[in-house]
Symmetry: C2
Subunit: 347 residues, 2 copies
């Protein structure tokens, strides 16, 4: 089944939810163009989720996707946190930051019964998860609303695990993808494979439709993914320069430069491996070096460094999320980009 049939959309294009760089504006633009726009909820307060949902409802009557993380919140580990702050000590001194003043706080909340209560009234057409799935009870509740449920698989085992728990489609997240790896059955980054290897193996392993993600940047990439058996594609990086995003100027500059050709998986910004353009922090600590607190606790100690450096115009401590193929990034309206990705040249 194609994603057009599955979601009731015109084009085989899903916009990847990208927490921190977009809100309802991008989702509305993509959905209005015939793709499936997405609202990343992981970093939004309940109030923000409600207002963003209202904005989507006001902006389009077409289907959209609400995305949530569903990690297990970690127990605080004072020793690990202290070691992490000690590792960052030279940077604090360089920026005249007193680590004692840094606020704790997770920053990213997993899906929960409270969030289900909040979104239920909106009857979201599609709900997607990252890092596996929430409890069976919560999944069943979302499905009872009539929502299609999606999640990302980074291995064949994860795809089978998701299918067994009732997802309506699996997103095959190839190693090329920007942002957080959806990996949840293994923490070993060597298990992560490129889209050319992952997609056909997942297509062969499950019966539900498979959505290709990772490295797809233009209409040729979309055609290639469909040739490999995908029911549709999910694209994030290509949208990062669109005017409907909130991508920072520093981030936009990096994406538009040769620097974007050198990304790496790093756990330094959040505690989980995610693909970003290599910057000073990644270079100096090693992208998977040091031993930051468990996701999402690593973020708090980085935040003041990021703020100080960004104020000085430096992306040294900013997570410059980006996939391995930024060649399709274009500073054009997201609706136009969506149509171009679908091969509609005269759009």
């Amino acid at each position: 089944m194609s994603v057009q049939d599955l979601f009731g959309i015109e084009l085989p294009i899903l916009q990847a939810p990208m927490a921190g760089v977009q809100g309802s504006a991008l989702a509305v633009a993509v959905s209005q163009a015939g793709g499936l726009g997405a609202l990343p909820c992981a970093m939004l307060s309940p109030e923000a989720i409600r207002s963003e949902l209202a904005a989507i409802r006001a902006g389009t009557d077409r289907p959209y996707n609400l995305n949530f993380f569903c990690h297990q919140p970690p127990a605080p580990d004072a020793a690990r946190e202290a070691a992490w702050r000690a590792t960052l000590g030279p940077y604090y001194r360089e920026h005249a930051i007193d680590p004692a003043t840094i606020a704790a706080g997770p920053g990213r909340a997993p899906f929960s019964a409270e969030l289900a209560d909040l979104i239920e009234a909106f009857r979201p057409p599609v709900v997607s998860f990252h890092f596996g799935l929430p409890s069976a009870e919560l999944v069943a509740r979302v499905k009872r609303w009539g929502a299609r449920v999606l999640s990302s698989a980074t291995t064949v085992d994860e795809a089978r695990w998701l299918e067994a728990r009732g997802v309506d489609a699996v997103i095959a997240q190839g190693l090329e993808a920007g942002g957080h790896r959806g990996m949840f059955l293994s923490a070993d980054t060597d298990t992560q494979v490129g889209s050319f290897a992952l997609l056909p193996q997942i297509v062969a392993a499950v019966k539900v439709p498979v959505i290709a993600a990772g490295g797809i940047a233009d209409a040729r990439g979309v055609r290639a993914a469909l040739a490999l058996g995908a029911a549709g594609v999910q694209i994030g990086t290509a949208y990062l320069l669109c005017p409907e995003t909130t991508t920072s100027v520093l981030h936009r500059t990096a994406i538009g430069s040769d620097a974007a050709r050198h990304t790496a998986l790093t756990h330094l910004f959040t505690g989980r491996p995610a693909r970003a353009i290599v910057n000073r922090l990644m270079r100096e600590l090693g992208p998977l070096g040091a031993n930051p607190p468990a996701f999402p606790l690593a973020t708090a100690a980085i935040a003041p460094l990021r703020a100080a450096a960004e104020a000085a115009g430096a992306p040294d401590f900013s997570p410059l999320w980006c996939g391995q193929n930024a060649s399709g990034c274009r500073a054009i309206p997201a609706g136009e980009l969506t149509r171009l990705l679908a091969g509609q040249r005269g759009a």
Copy 2:
């Protein structure tokens, strides 16, 4: 220009040269089927190269590809070698091996004027290199014979570097590929990207034809690579079970099992990063752990461990070279596989 036009072959399929697991038999079978068969020369003595070339000439009058490594032989480093043997010490004791009895020896010789002398009489139609290119003088000499010259690029920078030095086509080696990474401008494995990202970016960056490699396992993969702009594809892993290969039984067993879904880049077997199925040595030292001697010197100290373990039926120390997509491996004649890869179903 398609590879069919470039090399005078019928199908857009190049068989990847795979040192250690194949000789002339595989090359002949693929070339006879209309693809471009390849003979890996890196681990062959001059006498063996000559006899294998004679076998190819006897077996087919169609084009074929001779492949050479072109690394800079490293200076021996006694301290590093001693540290490496110390790391392997527990394994030597476990297998009752006296490290003092281990022969040194590089095992893999780079292309040279002597090898050019040897192959000149055969006027090979295609000569390919791995790890960059030999000297400009040697490249010019090979081209004067009328041979097409190829080499692998793992980044956009490497593709441009190769084009500037006169290659007739660039092989875009995606991260998914099995065996040695062709990387030569950087030693940082984070620069290595998946085929979905690498191929279109190299296609956009160079004027010469680009051959896709890495993760392509079946006719759909071939079509996808062509959709991304490839002039043809190079496939290795899919051939590993063909009767014309010399793949060991242990290696075949691993490829045919779920173990093949977990590969990693490792430098433990040779000193350079190469993709292999994760086995005991990789698991215990870390695939890119320890600090083995520079390529190809790491091999000597592993050899007796490999021999002892293989004699006992264990692949614990064997380099189980394999790409990230072993789903297309089939124990059928290589000519038949070549036609299937090209989409000729009734072949």
